[in-house]
């Protein structure tokens, strides 16, 4: 970490080719201290991006987990719906941006939709594969002990797929941050992605770097929150 910062400082100060436009560490810090720390607009960018990721991610889980469970447990439903999932899944989330802008009435909704679509297919596929991977012994034993189908679903199938849900959430939150930044650069007037982009447009190197560090930090904080949720979901994993 210290080595990386030192290298950055050195490369810029020595004027190594390609680094002329990059601000020094000190300049970035000063810019942050003077321009952003007390700026309502800067913190508003955090709030806006977090809201977009939050809504998109939460809705993707609320819809994706039940859909994955249905696909994994209902044969007929699987046969009808799974081919559609397989068809749409390889489309990168950012490829949805133009259609999303055309479809949704506001830019805000279209960006939230993009942060939704990214983690959505990931969680659906993970939950579906999780259900498919349940050990048959776990289901058989429940049948032998007299459990009814509803009990088997609630007490065996759902807990069995929690680890798959956790994997899907970890991958999904990262994708959600990836796409929100890109979508903001393309189609928004607010958010951390927009802040960084504005820095580029106005040739303000310090703003670009402050934006990048803020995005990294925001992603890291979201990952912490997701891991906390995962640990709470799996008390048996210590």
């Amino acid at each position: 970490m210290a080595g990386f910062l030192l290298l950055w400082e050195l490369l810029v100060r020595l004027g190594v080719s390609g680094f002329e436009g990059i601000p020094t560490l000190g300049a970035v810090w000063r810019a942050f201290w003077d321009k952003y720390l007390a700026s309502a607009k800067y913190w508003q960018s955090w709030v806006v991006s977090f809201e977009r990721v939050g809504y998109g991610f939460i809705v993707s889980q609320l819809l994706g987990i039940p859909l994955g469970l249905l696909l994994g447990t209902r044969r007929l439903f699987h046969e009808i719906v799974y081919p559609v999932v397989e068809l749409l899944r390889p489309i990168p989330p950012l490829a949805w941006v133009p259609l999303s802008i055309l479809f949704w009435p506001t830019a805000e909704l279209s960006i939230v939709f993009i942060t939704f679509i990214g983690p959505f297919f990931i969680i659906v596929i993970n939950v579906h594969d999780g259900v498919r991977g349940i050990r048959k012994e776990h289901l058989w034993l429940a049948r032998s002990l007299g459990a009814r189908p509803g009990d088997i679903f609630r007490r065996i199938i759902v807990p069995s797929v929690i680890p798959s849900i956790a994997v899907g959430m970890t991958l999904g939150i990262a994708v959600s941050w990836n796409v929100v930044i890109a979508a903001e650069m393309i189609a928004s007037d607010a958010g951390l992605g927009r802040l960084t982009w504005e820095g580029y447009v106005s040739h303000t190197g310090t703003t670009v770097i402050v934006g990048m560090i803020s995005i990294g930090l925001a992603g890291y904080l979201s990952t912490l929150a997701v891991s906390y949720a995962e640990r709470r979901m799996m008390p048996w994993q210590k």
């Binding site: 058989w140 032998s144 002990l145 007299g146 459990a147 007490r155």
Partner: protein, 284 residues
Amino acid sequence: MAEVIKYGDIAASGGKMRGRVCAAGLRKWYHRPSQPPAHVLEDCSFDIEPGKLTVLMGISGCGKSTLAYMLAGYVRPDAGSLTMDGKPIEAAGRDRILVFQETALWHWMTVFDNVIFGPMSSSAMTESAARAKALALLARFGVLDFKDKYPGQLSGGMKRRVELAQALINNPKLMILDEPFRGLDVMTRELMREYYLELFEETRLTTLFITSELEEAIFLADRVLVMSGSPARIVKSVEVDLPHPRKFEVLISERYVTIKEDLMQALYGHGAVEAIVPGEEVRA
């Protein structure tokens, strides 16, 4: 207070002789996608006597687990008849509990919740009765201190004892143990054998014990069924008349050696199937 429960109380209910299994002419083909169909069982016939510990022996992969799954009601035979106490076995049920090769304890439930699952989900007893019985069984199996732990925190031997408690709380008529001690280390395995034998001799709970180890088979069995061939059937049935209660000394007795040779002949001997003398043939 928990310690006073006797194994007798655990299994005793209903008639004395329970768990008589009759299997006749069982056939099974497995059809799996992108694989040639496998003919696992053909004309497989045997019976399991109530109150006896019957061992099913055969080399790995010969179809022993398939037979266990049929008895438990998870897999249906393509032909033949399979009954317990005169009633055909058609689905899974609490009267026949299978302890799987790999532990099937639900790792997301505590030990206690695993054990109490049967009575709670079948509403066979009141919650307080089920809780009391679960605690008593856990105490009897020496795992009461671990009741709030998760299975992942237990040793292999402890998991097996929890699975026995999980099964016995349902008063099954038949216990099916599919190579239950295979993954355990040698010491634990020997302890568990003695442990199960002790439990069996106290409860006389009709048991089918599946193993691919000759020594284990003879040490435990009242009778050994030898399964062989592809498709497999029961090729030999050997009464093991070694004295009870069995201790490890029986493994050096002369009678043990005779039985062992007999079984080895059936398992590996040249033309094992043809070598059966009419008098020794298995009852169908």
